[in-house]
C-alpha cells in the first residue's frame, strides 16, 4: 500500500483502523500516508503526509484536524473534503519530510514557514492579503518547571487545538520551537482579519485548561506584521512581527500588537546604544566615581560606593538609568559589571585597610554562572581582603529563580564578602526578603529620607525599617541624606550609617586620597 515514490492513498472500506502501536507507527512513517474514506474524506494522515500536503498547497495544514474519537475511528478529520489532486505529490528522492514537521504537535516547522513566506512574497496579491503573526506563550516555562514536561507537552497540544479552531482554510500554523508559534494568515480584509483572529486566540488560549487533574492557566502574546508596513522580504517581515511581539510582552503580555515603525526606531536606537557600549568598554570610556559612606555617630568615613559614569564621545555624559537597562537586556552588563568589580577593587587597594568598597550587582550578573569566579579573581588580583568588599543587590534579584539566587548569595558570603540590600522600600519591600537571606546591611532608599520630614507615612516607614534592622542585627544605611536635620532624626531612630550630599557627592578616584586625609 505504501509507495516509496509518490504520496500514497489508501481507500479503505471504512474498516476500523488498527489502533495504538500501528497508528503511532504509521503516524511517524517517513512516507506520506493517508487513508481516505468512501466520501473522499481523509480519515487519517500521518505527519509526513501533512507536511507534504502543506508544502504542496502552500498553507493548508491547519484544516487537517485530528481528534481521538474512539477505537473505531482513531482519527476524524474536520469534515472538509479534499480534492484528490491535493494529496498526490511526487516526493523527491532523498527528501526527508520529517525535517519539516514538529514531532510533538504534528505542525510544520520553521522551514515550511520560510518557504510559504517566500511563495507569498513572490505573489503581489497574496502579499496584500497576508499577515504574519508570531505567538509566544506566557508562563509556559513556569508550567513546565512546576508540573513537568509531560503536562507541558499535553498543554502545547491543547493550545494548538485551540488555535486551530480560530484559523481557516489557507492559514498556515507553524511551531517555531518551544512555546513559539507562527501563523501566516490570509484574508482579503487585512488588517481587520488579523486583528480579529489575534483577539480570539488571545481569548481562547488564555482560558484555563484541565490537564491530568491540574487546572492550568497560561496566556499568549502576539506580534503582527503585514507586508504593507512590516517589510517586503521574509527576514524583515519576521523581524517586524518579532518587534511587535516584544511590544506586546512589554505592554504586559496577554495581548497583541501590530508592528509600528516606531518599534523599529526604538530597536535601532537600542542597537546603536549597545554598539556604543561595547566600544566604550574597549576604549575605556567608562569610569567610576566614589560616594563616601559614613558612621552616623561621628561622620567617620567607613567606605565608598562605586558608581558607574559614562562619557560618550559625542553625546556627553549618559545617565546609568539610560544605558543600564539596555546593558541588562543585551547581557552586556555581565562584562561591564566585571570591569566595575575589578576597577573598584583595584582602587580600594590604594586606600587604607579599614575603608570598604561597595559595588552594585545587577540581577543579570547574579544569574550569570561566572560571577563567583569573577569576584574571587577581582579580590585576588587587587590583593584586598574579601571583608572589604560589599556587594549591593536590589529586591528584584530575589524575585528571580529564588533557589539558585540564594545559593549564589550564600556562596558569595562564603568568600567573606558582605551582601547589602539596596534601595529598600522602592520595590515590593517584602520583609520576607530580609528573612530569606542574612543581609549584612540594608540601605533605605533616598525617596523615604527625602520625604521623612514632610510625610508622616515616610517617617513611619523609616522608623519601622530601622527598628527591624536593629532587631535583626543588620546595620542600616540611609541613602540620600542632605541635611543635619535628617541626620539627627535618623540617628535618634538608631540608624547606623549614612550616605548623601551631607557627607559628599560622588567624587572621582583622583580625589579620594585627598578627601580621606581631609576627613
Amino acid at each position: 500500500m505504501i509507495n516509496g515514490k509518490a504520496a500514497t492513498l489508501c481507500w479503505s472500506e471504512t474498516k476500523p483502523l488498527p489502533i495504538d502501536a500501528l497508528t503511532e507507527a504509521a503516524m511517524r512513517l517517513p512516507e506520506p500516508f493517508a487513508v481516505i474514506d468512501d466520501h473522499d474524506r481523509i480519515v487519517f494522515a500521518n505527519l509526513a503526509f501533512r507536511a507534504a500536503y502543506c508544502v504542496n498547497e502552500g498553507a493548508r495544514m491547519t484544516d487537517i484536524e485530528t481528534h481521538r474519537v474512539s477505537a473505531e475511528t482513531e482519527f476524524r478529520m474536520s469534515g472538509l473534503s479534499f480534492g484528490r489532486r491535493l494529496v498526490t505529490r511526487e516526493i523527491k528522492a532523498g527528501e526527508d519530510l520529517r525535517e519539516r514537521v514538529d514531532a510533538l504537535t504534528g505542525l510544520p516547522n520553521r522551514l515550511v514557514l520560510r518557504e510559504a513566506l517566500e511563495r507569498m512574497l513572490a505573489d503581489p496579491q497574496a502579499c496584500n492579503e497576508s499577515a504574519l503573526l508570531l505567538l509566544d506563550l506566557d508562563r509556559f516555562k513556569f508550567v513546565n518547571d512546576t508540573l513537568g514536561h509531560p503536562i507541558g507537552d499535553k498543554l502545547l497540544c491543547r493550545v494548538v487545538d485551540r488555535i486551530r479552531k480560530v484559523l481557516r482554510d489557507g492559514d498556515l500554523l507553524v511551531r517555531l520551537g518551544g512555546d513559539e508559534f507562527a501563523i501566516l494568515h490570509a484574508s482579503q480584509k487585512q488588517p481587520e482579519s488579523a486583528r480579529a483572529i489575534a483577539q480570539r486566540i488571545v481569548d481562547l488560549v488564555g482560558r484555563s485548561y484541565l490537564i491530568d487533574d491540574h487546572l492550568v492557566t497560561i496566556g499568549t502574546s502576539i506580534g503582527i506584521a503585514t507586508t504593507l508596513f512590516g517589510g517586503s522580504d521574509a527576514d524583515r517581515l519576521i523581524k517586524s512581527a518579532d518587534l511587535a511581539l516584544y511590544g506586546a510582552k512589554e505592554a504586559g503580555r496577554g495581548q497583541f500588537r501590530f508592528f509600528e515603525q516606531e518599534m523599529d526606531d526604538r530597536a535601532q536606537a537600542r542597537r546603536t546604544l549597545e554598539q556604543d557600549m561595547r566600544r566604550a568598554l574597549a576604549l575605556r570610556q567608562f569610569s567610576l566615581h566614589y560616594q563616601p559612606q559614613a558612621d552616623i555617630a561621628d561622620k567617620t568615613i567607613l567606605g565608598f560606593e562605586a558608581l558607574l559614569r559614562w562619557k560618550h564621545p559625542t553625546l556627553g555624559m549618559i545617565s546609568p538609568a539610560a544605558f543600564i537597562p539596555v546593558a541588562e537586556e543585551t547581557g552586556l552588563i555581565v562584562q561591564i559589571g566585571e570591569w566595575v568589580l575589578r576597577a573598584a577593587c583595584h582602587e580600594a587597594a590604594r586606600w587604607p585597610e579599614d575603608i570598604t568598597i561597595a559595588v552594585n550587582l545587577s540581577p543579570v550578573q547574579i544569574a550569570h554562572h561566572g560571577l563567583i569566579d569573577v569576584v574571587t579573581s577581582a579580590l585576588a588580583n587587587a590583593g584586598i581582603s574579601p571583608g572589604r568588599l560589599e556587594l549591593e543587590i536590589t529586591e528584584t534579584v530575589l524575585l528571580q529563580d529564588t533557589n539558585s539566587t540564594l545559593d549564589t548569595l550564600h556562596r558569595l558570603r562564603a568568600l567573606g564578602v558582605r551582601i547589602a540590600m539596596d534601595d529598600f522600600g522602592t520595590g515590593y519591600s517584602s520583609l520576607s526578603y530580609l528573612r530569606a537571606f542574612p543581609f549584612d546591611k540594608v540601605k533605605i532608599d533616598q525617596s523615604f529620607i527625602r520625604e521623612m520630614s514632610t510625610d508622616k507615612e515616610a517617617a513611619a516607614i523609616v522608623r519601622a525599617v530601622i527598628g527591624l534592622g536593629i532587631s535583626l542585627g543588620i546595620s542600616m544605611t540611609a541613602e540620600g541624606v542632605e541635611t543635619e536635620e535628617q541626620l539627627q532624626g535618623l540617628r535618634n531612630e538608631g540608624c547606623t550609617e549614612l550616605q548623601g550630599f551631607l557627607i559628599s557627592r560622588p567624587i572621582p578616584s583622583a580625589d579620594v586620597a585627598e578627601f580621606l586625609s581631609r576627613n
Partner: protein, 141 residues
C-alpha cells in the same frame, strides 16, 4: 472523581427568546454528551452570564470542560473551584438547568442579593448551595 465550578460571561445576543433558545441548544448538547461521558452537574443562566457545576471522572470531565472552554458563546470563564470529590452533589442530572420555570430575577434573585448580577463575584460554595436549593424548588414545582 472531580468537580469544577465556574462562572462565565454570556456572549449570545438577541432577544430573551433567542437567548433562551441558545441555552436550550447548549443544554441539549450537554445532556447528550454528558450522559455518554458520565458527567453530571447543573447550569444557571441569566442574561449576563452562566454558572456551571460539572462532576465526573477526571478524563471525561477534562474533555467536556475543554469543549466548553472553546465555546464562543461565552467568555471570561472564571474557575471558582476545582477539587477531588468522593460523592456527587448532582448524581441524577446530566445537566440540570435552573431557570426554566423562573424569570431572570427569580433565577438569580436568591443568590445575587449581595453581589448584584455579577455571578463571577460569587463564591463557589454559595453557587453550589443556591443551585441545590433551586434544583429542589424546580423539582417541586
Amino acid at each position: 472523581m472531580q468537580r469544577i465550578v465556574y462562572a462565565s460571561r454570556n456572549l449570545m445576543e438577541g432577544s430573551e427568546e433567542e437567548k433562551l433558545q441558545g441555552v436550550q441548544q447548549i443544554l441539549a448538547a450537554a445532556r447528550r454528551n454528558n450522559t455518554a461521558a458520565g458527567v453530571t452537574g447543573a447550569l444557571i443562566f441569566n442574561s449576563g452570564g452562566f454558572a456551571q457545576v460539572l462532576e465526573g471522572s477526571s478524563h471525561e470531565l477534562a474533555e467536556i470542560f475543554e469543549r466548553i472552554q472553546c465555546d464562543s458563546r461565552h467568555t471570561d470563564v472564571l474557575v471558582l473551584d476545582h477539587c477531588s470529590i468522593s460523592e456527587r452533589i448532582f448524581p441524577d442530572w446530566s445537566m440540570g438547568f435552573i431557570g426554566t420555570n423562573t424569570g431572570d430575577e427569580l433565577m438569580f434573585g436568591a443568590i445575587t442579593q449581595d453581589s448584584g448580577f455579577d455571578v463571577s463575584r460569587l463564591a463557589a460554595d454559595e453557587i453550589l448551595a443556591a443551585m441545590q436549593r433551586l434544583v429542589l424548588e424546580e423539582e417541586n414545582l
